[in-house]
């Protein structure tokens, strides 16, 4: 193949890319974006697959078998977290107009210039070898293609004079192309729709090319996978590849982790995944489509590696070139060119996006801060947008030339795959400051600085210096004996840690130190105002629908000055247009009428942030506004308000629940008290009522006697008799009330003595003999002969029986009354009953008969009593462990009975006694 053909093909391909980009940009200007599409978003993420994937995977598979897989496993695994992690990054970046990963980290830690600069330096140093790798891939594939169909490995390039090195021209061409692509104009949002469209297209090209080679190798050269693997096994190359290729699991783990971090931290990945993202909804498809892409592009890696080894057995053909050399070896000119284009796609895609991302970082986070300092924070009165563009273009050229330089100096020392991993390790240093900072408010600028610097130092010491040593720039003794012969400091076996590969070793030490110092220094002091503000905005990004930062600015500003500022960086036409759009959005007529309030200042700042980075934008805006500093307390107050309110309301809820419970308990207690009070009140009311009745009689007759001294003697005697008996009734009532109160409150004195119930009956009858005689009542006694011993209080038992007897006497008719007293023995108890042939108790009265002041009987035969006798009797019997009840049959009078348990040793064993007693009660 001639040089001309290949150059024309390459240029034609690049031209097509440019056409696509131009078309997409035009469409974007017309608000008919082509990249606002989830599939295109996912395809643009596949810029992850560079020439390193396209050529290097096969090379690594040939060397380590399935060892190439972790590079794709990591991204596949972390893609599952994109729903939260990447979403958060995207949302923060949109609200803060983040333009790069350096901007992101600087912004998170209080818009720190220093931090942004350091991230930029790390990124440039870490990525330059990676860019060199792409240049190397392009120039090698070009050189190999020249000898088509003869497969020969090109000579080491550093033997060529500089100006004859195709790589130089490749680098220059790519620089030109990238400048045309990425810096045609300065966009406030710093989005490059044309570039994204071209990248998505390239992703398709490289996938199609790789699969085409894979299909050719598997199904054309061989009879499918089985046939190919069989042949490989016969040739004895399968087992060493698959089985022995299994590195230690710690290396697998570290490579998986490393690539998982890299796919988030690489500047170009950040560029396409975050900065160029046009809608959060696109993430959803990317979560499965991107891993699927990785899967597809890896299917044929092992087959191509095996086929290459079978085909070129014994020949000196680099496995890194199999994708290109296999079609060549079989004279497949079209397929060869397709493979070349695939590799070109992979390499150019990476270089374009990476250099655009890096140039943005160099411009915004490295050059701008220096310029700002030179200008003493006040920019000269000139259109700065052209200056910014020139800075970026210069940065692109510089970065590509650096890549070329690295390629010239170190290009042959390392296989493709190792260079890629070295870059991965460098950018992985961003992960702690980035990811922890997204979830932990406590991280400070000092912590992030310490973590980045320490991690990056470890990277230089354990990966970069050894690579220099291997390239012969440094004595190899450094690797073998350690610096100054100190073994513990051997760069690839730091502090005696051996047995890991260099990447795992570096990852272990750098991450340990990075995370350790990040956390340690963050704890060193509490976050400052601006750090705390930004921390909250980042950490709570998913909680707030609206950007909060607006509320945290206080000061005065002039709308004219803000507009001028924007004009200087964006150009007058563009700035006016954007300000006018903003005014319209706020429903304000013209730019001049815009209030220079916090919201407008914030708008101007984010607008500038898109052009010059958030840290510089902040400095710029504060140079034209008189900002009043907010105290830490004030900021914290504002920031914590929401969470505090939440906490308070939660606490309040809890408190009110507790209060409700307490109120409920109090209410219940109060109800019980009120009930008791009511019972007591009722009792007192009844007592006073009962006292009033005899008092009324006493007073009435006393007054009658007092008023009229001339009353007849008989009448006088009768009245005095009534006074005496009512007085007696009154004192009896008082005694009984006190007695009842004593029993009820448990303050009554009780004797526990042996009592013979026979004696009680005898004495009670003796004391009531007179009463019965007065009414002519006949008394019948039915008692056993032997003693009936119980344990109890003799006087109380007497009281009960006398009460029952006198009650009976009251209810029987005069002269014809019969009262029968019986004492009956049961196996566990005695029962004493008093029966009369009186008027009896009505059935509806029976249940109430033992209530206080409830007297049975009708008005015609109103009993003379207090209404407390039976209640007292009942309580006495119950106190003694017995039971008192009444039975009545209106015609045959009433029977009152009380049961008293037998004395313990007289009766059955106690247990049964109790059981019997209880059942009696029930």
């Amino acid at each position: 193949m001639t040089t001309t053909l290949i150059v024309i093909l390459s240029l034609g391909y690049l031209g097509m890319l440019f056409a696509i980009a131009y078309w997409a940009d035009r469409r974007a200007d017309q608000n008919r974006s082509v990249i606002s599409n989830a599939t295109i978003y996912a395809l643009s993420l596949a810029v992850y697959c560079t020439a390193w994937t396209f050529y290097g995977s096969v090379g690594r598979a040939a060397a380590t078998g399935v060892g190439f897989l972790p590079i794709y496993l990591g991204p596949t695994l972390i893609a599952a977290l994109w729903g939260t992690l990447l979403l958060k990054m995207v949302r923060v970046s949109k609200s803060q107009r983040i333009t790069s990963i350096a901007d992101f980290i600087a912004s998170r830690y209080g818009k720190s210039h220093l931090l942004g600069g350091i991230v930029t330096i790390i990124a440039v140093l870490g990525i330059v070898p990676y860019i060199a790798l792409q240049l190397k891939a392009i120039s090698r594939s070009f050189t190999i293609l020249l000898t088509y169909p003869e497969v020969t490995m090109p000579n080491a390039t550093d033997s060529l004079p500089l100006l004859q090195d195709t790589t130089l021209y490749v680098a220059l061409l790519l620089a030109l192309f990238t400048i045309l692509f990425g810096t045609r104009h300065l966009d406030a949002s710093e989005r490059h729709e044309g570039m994204v469209a071209a990248i998505a297209f390239e992703s398709i090209v490289k996938l199609v090319a790789f699969i085409a080679v894979g299909l050719f190798v598997t199904f054309q050269l061989h009879d499918g996978f089985t046939d190919l693997f069989d042949k490989a096994e016969t040739a004895g190359i399968l087992n060493p590849l698959i089985v022995d290729g299994m590195d230690g699991y710690e290396n697998w783990f570290s490579l998986t982790l490393l690539s998982a971090l890299a796919v988030m931290m690489l500047p170009r990945q950040f560029q396409v995944a975050v900065v160029e993202n046009s809608s959060e909804h696109h993430l959803r498809r990317a979560i499965w489509l991107f891993p699927l892409y990785l899967f597809l592009i890896n299917i044929f890696v092992i087959p191509i590696a095996l086929a290459g080894q079978l085909t070129f057995a014994g020949a000196d053909v680099d496995a890194d070139t199999f994708v290109l050399t296999l079609p060549m070896a079989y004279h497949q000119s079209t397929l060869t060119l397709l493979a070349f284009l695939g590799g070109l796609s992979a390499a150019t895609g990476m270089v374009i996006v990476e250099t655009i991302a890096l140039s943005t970082m160099v411009c915004n986070d490295l050059v701008m801060p220096v310029l700002l300092r030179r200008w003493k924070q006040i920019p000269p009165n000139a259109d700065l947008s052209q200056l910014l563009l020139r800075i970026r273009r210069g940065a692109i050229l510089l970065i590509l030339l650096l890549g070329f330089l690295y390629f010239r100096l170190a290009g042959e020392a390392y296989a493709l795959v190792s260079i890629g991993l070295i870059s991965f390790s460098a950018v992985a240093q961003f992960a702690p400051a980035m990811i922890i900072g997204l979830y932990w408010r406590g991280g400070t600028r000092d912590g992030a600085l310490a973590g980045l610097l320490s991690g990056f130092s470890i990277w230089i010491y354990t990966l970069l210096l050894p690579s220099f040593a291997k390239s012969g720039w440094l004595p190899v003794g450094l690797l073998e004996d350690g610096p100054f012969g100190i073994e513990l400091l051997k760069p690839q076996a730091l502090f005696g840690l051996t047995g890991l590969n260099e990447i795992t070793h570096c990852l272990f030490w750098s991450m340990t130190l990075n995370i350790g110092t990040y956390i340690l220094f963050s704890f060193w002091r509490t976050p400052r105002v601006n750090e705390a503000t930004q921390a909250t905005l980042f950490v709570d990004a998913l909680k707030h629908q609206r950007f909060l930062g607006v509320g945290l600015w206080r000061g005065t500003a002039e709308i004219d000055e803000l507009l001028h500022l924007a004009e200087r960086f964006l150009g007058a036409r563009r700035a006016q247009a954007v300000f006018q759009a903003y005014a319209t959005r706020r429903k304000i007529q013209g730019i001049k009428q815009l209030p220079a309030d916090a919201e407008t200042v914030h708008f101007a700042e984010t607008l500038l942030a898109g052009a010059i980075g958030s840290a510089s934008a902040r400095v710029m805006v504060s140079s034209v506004t008189a900002e009043e500093s907010l105290g830490m307390d004030e900021v914290l107050n504002i920031l914590d308000e929401a969470s505090q309110i939440r906490a308070y309301s939660h606490e309040l809820e809890k408190k009110s629940q507790e209060l409700e419970a307490a109120t409920r308990e109090l209410k219940e207690a109060n109800e019980r008290l009120q009930e008791l009070d009511r019972v007591k009140d009722d009792f007192m009311s009844s007592v006073t009522h009962e006292l009033r009745t005899p008092l009324a009689s006493i007073r009435a007759f006393s007054e009658i006697l007092n008023d009229d001294p001339e009353i007849e003697l008989n009448e006088r005697r009768r009245f005095l008799g009534i006074i005496v008996s009512e007085t007696k009734r009154l004192s009896r009532l008082v005694n009984q009330v006190l007695d009842l109160a004593k029993i009820e409150s448990g303050r009554a004195d009780w004797n526990a003595e042996d009592v013979d119930l026979l004696e009680v009956v005898e004495q009670a009858l003796a004391s009531t003999e007179q009463l019965f005689a007065e009414r002519g009542t006949q008394v019948i006694r039915e008692t056993p002969n032997s003693a009936c011993m119980v344990t109890g209080d003799r006087d109380r038992l007497m009281q009960v029986l006398v009460n029952l007897l006198s009650n009976a006497n009251k209810f029987v008719s005069e002269k014809s009354g019969i009262v029968c007293v019986g004492l009956h023995t049961y196996h566990d108890r005695y029962e004493i009953s008093v029966a009369d042939n009186g008027t009896g108790i009505a059935a509806d009265e029976l249940p109430n008969i033992f209530e206080k002041f409830r007297q049975a009987g009708t008005a015609s035969n109103k009993p003379i009593g207090t209404g407390l006798g039976l209640p007292i009797s009942k309580r006495i019997i119950e106190h003694l462990g017995g039971r008192l009840w009444a039975e009545s049959d209106a015609e045959n009078g009433a029977i009152f009975t009380f049961a008293i348990p037998k004395k313990q040793n007289d009766a059955l064993p106690p247990g049964e006694t109790h059981a019997e007693k209880d059942s009696d009660r029930g």
Partner: protein
């Protein structure tokens, strides 16, 4: 023609004392020991005044009072409640049910007599 007074109380001694007082003032007296009996008596002859206890068996004074007030043939019959129920709420209940006067026990014989005289005079 002496005025007739019906005394209703379940306490025999109260009935006795009030009866003595009323007779001493020259009134004619009838007595009843419970509310039911009182209403039965009223359906036969209408007195000029009723002295009514509250706490009584078979029908209490409040019930008797409201039945009388509901009976048009007994309209205008002065009722004097004489009760050991002394609380304000109970007094108010008696008055609202239609009692013309409410005297609590123990009562002053002079007050009782004066009230009876006053009620009978105002009726004329």
């Amino acid at each position: 023609m002496p005025k007739k007074i019906l005394i209703v109380d379940d306490e025999p001694n109260i009935v006795l004392s009030v009866e003595y007082l009323m007779k001493r003032e020259g009134y004619q007296v009838a007595t009843a020991n419970d509310g039911q009996t009182a209403l039965e008596l009223l359906s036969e002859t209408t007195p000029d005044l009723l002295i009514l206890d509250v706490m009584m068996p078979r029908k209490n004074g409040f019930e008797v009072c409201s039945e009388i007030r509901a009976d048009p043939t007994l309209s205008g019959l002065p009722i004097l409640m004489l009760s050991a129920k002394w609380r304000e709420a109970e007094v108010k209940k008696g008055v609202s049910l239609g009692a013309d006067a409410y005297i609590t026990k123990p009562f002053s014989t002079h007050d009782l007599v004066n009230m009876v005289n006053k009620l009978l005079k105002s009726q004329d």
